[in-house]
Subunit: 296 residues, 2 copies
């Protein structure tokens, strides 16, 4: 689900237009500049990248930023699409705003090996929580263990509801998938649980309805569950200064880890990559390289 924001009007991202290039989050480098403030070789990241090898900007779009490569050495540019991009910032800001975590509580993180999930897990770890996390391959589950997850499992081979029944009740659920996993989490939530809704991957392509349906609202009321719906645009601004003060240095020093990445090459794999993301087949944060930077 992608949302555009225009002042106080909230609109869905318009459907892709046939014949027009797709746009999304990206990283790029300045090849030519007629603006004395912008130097050839500077890197940019953020929103408003068009999926083509070259494009011309008349001004810096909202949400596109210059990268300080020298300030934080050792970070590959892909970091700016994951841990230092919207996923990392969303995880950081969402956790700070809504988790209200207390040491010893239990958190369940779905899509644990995603760029968002990786950051959430490490923040939960710092807060002293018991962490249950799911991912879609054995490789990713191995990565979750490396992050310090207490109960890591492959949701494709292990029943999520069963895990939550054994290892719950859960005080916090970081939800990137919605659907049946949401309902299993509700049924295994503790009184006063906080649900952080960050995506609805399993219901994103449901045909015919945008309704969010909760099968059994009784336990939600009975347990006084709080459900926080997350918009990156709304929650990031308040936390972005602290984020940039803390996170790039921690990633550079290796005290925070980046999520796995799945980097493919060539414009022609964009469509297949979108499909693979939505079916959980990617090996990590999905990125497509549409143009290589010339190496000196």
């Amino acid at each position: 689900m992608s949302l555009l924001i225009r002042r106080d009007i909230w609109v869905l991202k318009p459907a892709f237009e046939i014949g027009q290039p797709l746009a999304g989050y990206g990283v790029g480098v300045v090849l030519r500049s007629d603006n004395s403030d912008v130097v050839v070789g500077q890197h940019l990241h953020g929103r408003g990248f068009i999926f083509e090898q070259y494009f011309v900007l008349l001004s810096l779009p909202l949400g596109m930023y210059f990268i300080d490569k020298h300030g934080h050495p050792g970070l590959p540019l892909t970091t700016y699409l994951g841990a230092l991009g919207v996923p990392g910032k969303t995880a950081w800001a969402g956790w700070k705003d809504f988790a209200s975590s207390k040491k010893g509580e239990t958190v369940f993180v779905s899509s644990g090996a995603s760029a968002v999930g990786t950051m959430v897990i490490q923040l939960a770890k710092l807060d002293g929580l018991k962490i249950i996390a799911s991912a879609g391959s054995e490789e990713k589950v191995e990565f979750l263990r490396k992050l310090g997850v207490d109960v890591a499992f492959n949701y494709k081979t292990v029943d999520t509801r069963g895990v939550l029944e054994r290892e719950g009740p859960i005080d916090i659920y970081w939800d990137s998938v919605a659907g049946e996993t949401f309902n299993a989490a509700i049924d295994n939530a503790a009184a006063g649980a906080r649900f952080l809704e960050c995506g609805q991957m399993t219901t994103l392509n449901s045909v015919g309805s945008h309704a969010l349906t909760i099968n059994n609202p009784m336990p939600i009321f009975g347990k006084s569950v709080s459900i926080h719906f997350i918009s990156s645009f709304v929650i990031i601004p308040k936390h972005v200064e602290e984020f940039y003060r803390v996170v790039p240095a921690a990633l550079s020093a290796g005290t925070l880890l980046r999520s796995p990445e799945d980097v493919r090459h060539g414009l022609e794999c964009v469509g297949e990559m979108i499909r693979a993301v939505q079916s959980g087949e990617t090996k990590g944060k999905a990125m497509v390289v549409v143009g290589e930077e010339a190496q000196d």
Copy 2:
């Protein structure tokens, strides 16, 4: 919607049984006692009252308490079903836990003249909020103005969505009705809004499904709305001490006001009263007197 709680198991209130008396919240007086700790003439209030003139208790049920009549003079016993009962405590605890109000924000309170709504409005007033509140009669709207509501309206004659469009966006919604009012509130919510879900009067009797359906989840995500589902049982304990320290004295002194009351007499009106509550026809907090206390 009534919920019973049994340790960590959450169950719905069982359906009424034909031939068995109904039970609910009540106020009573001890007429006879074989227990030296319980004195004839002492008053009780809370959960577990059976809708009959006399009943026998072998022990004090969970959620039933003795009333300190002398500590807070001038408070009619009906206060213990409203402002000093579960409604008042729910409003107090819910507001403290979930409102996160900031001076100058706007709150919308549905069922504003209810025992819950009356307390919520006064807490919002103390926090310096702009208050929009609805009720179902001109009399109740007049009462809302007396409470200091900035925008009071009769939802039976004035379109709720129109009011929220003119007077919003709203930062907090205290919801006792759900249904279309919930959706109108979502569409007129500010970024970062908090919704406090305290009842679903308009959908309570929906046949066939207990599903909570949100017609348009997009603005809920887009605005990062937090939805807090309230269970009195879960949230009251943490706040009950402060509540009893502050509220009875404030009511006794008149610095907090009680909601209007609709008191009817005789067991035979219980059924009609339940119907009237659910169709919004009562003139205030609904109570049925099933036995009068003998006056000395």
